[in-house]
Symmetry: C2
Subunit: 161 residues, 2 copies
DNA sequence: GGCGGCGGTGATACACTGTAACAAACCCGC
DNA sequence: GCGGGTTTGTTACAGTGTATCACCGCCGCC
């Protein structure tokens, strides 16, 4: 199970993310182009899930426009390499700092107050889900598990304003 | 745990669904209007998840057009009453024949081959998820769990064509 | 050097999904 | 009949994602 440790830590993570991404791409013989780098950085810098159009706007500057379609292509690439996750319930994207094992289930903890998204995993949930699917005669290919609620920090902030 | 028993059973379910929906609305003092009835019927008749625009098109006839916005409103109502589920990973809707207990988690089994969606539930998964969230200091409000894969019928069909 | 394939990007247009705002119709109790 | 809440129609718009084609840069090959 993994937790973000606050915005400072997230920010520090951004550089790590970029270094790791470059290593992953080099290792797999893929190109970590400037656009892909910028998109990943934009996703990693903000502590919350970013929409593709938000990223496009953030990367655009007067005179240099980045079209959403380019962002989508970069995101597709980054998702294939496991560097970014898509949050289906938000139509948004987050960076992934954990090299997940293939087939490992991920639980997204989405805070409705601060918009932050943490990742967790649980062998208990995974095992139970596997048994449930087997009983149902269903062969899984991939699954999404997203929980919306209040993160610890926001809950404390609400109790003692 | 629940399984569809094929298209014939789904079709038979449609009438039951409508009767149950009418009973639920009467009991809660809500209106089960013709539009809401038609939308629920459209969702229930097809064995697969339907998009809002698909439903609008299906309900439209030459001379009588049903706008998507009307379908969305009916779907919102039906979802509030627990008669319809939204499948976030598909932007689509399915009927629900099981009166879920409040707070009960639902697992959607989405067949990538036939497009059918079954519902399952598992106290094991639910308990494991609850403990995982508690460890993470996260207070859940609601969660979605959707699994894409191959249903039993489609897997058999693929093995022996 | 020239050439052709290949992956990445730019640019435009388009399809699909969902919501806001306002007016008209409907229902129901007074 | 009247007033007020709910439902529906209609239009317009915002947000999300994809198709298509052209262009560029790179690298291997002739
Ligand atoms: Zn991850
Ligand atoms: Zn929070
Ligand atoms: Zn259900
Ligand atoms: Zn199937």
């Amino acid at each position: 199970m993994h937790r973000h440790e606050g915005h400072a830590a997230c920010h520090a993570d951004a550089d790590d993310m970029l270094a790791r991404a470059e290593a992953v791409c080099r290792e797999r013989g893929l190109q970590f182009t400037p656009l892909r780098r910028d998109v990943l950085e934009a996703v990693a810098e903000s502590g919350k899930a970013q929409g593709a159009y938000d990223i496009a706007e953030r990367l655009s500057a007067p005179g240099k426009r980045v079209a959403p379609v380019s962002v989508y292509r970069a995101l597709d690439f980054l998702m294939e390499q496991g560097l970014v996750h898509r949050i289906a319930s938000r139509n948004a994207f987050i960076p992934c700092a954990h090299g997940h094992a293939p087939g490992e289930g991920v639980i997204f903890l989405i805070c409705r107050s601060c918009g932050g998204v943490d990742e967790a995993s649980s062998v208990e949930v995974e095992g139970g889900l596997g048994r449930t699917l087997e009983r149902a005669g269903f062969t899984p290919v991939h699954s999404i598990l997203e929980v919306e609620g209040d993160c610890g920090a926001c809950r404390e902030r609400m109790q003692a304003p």
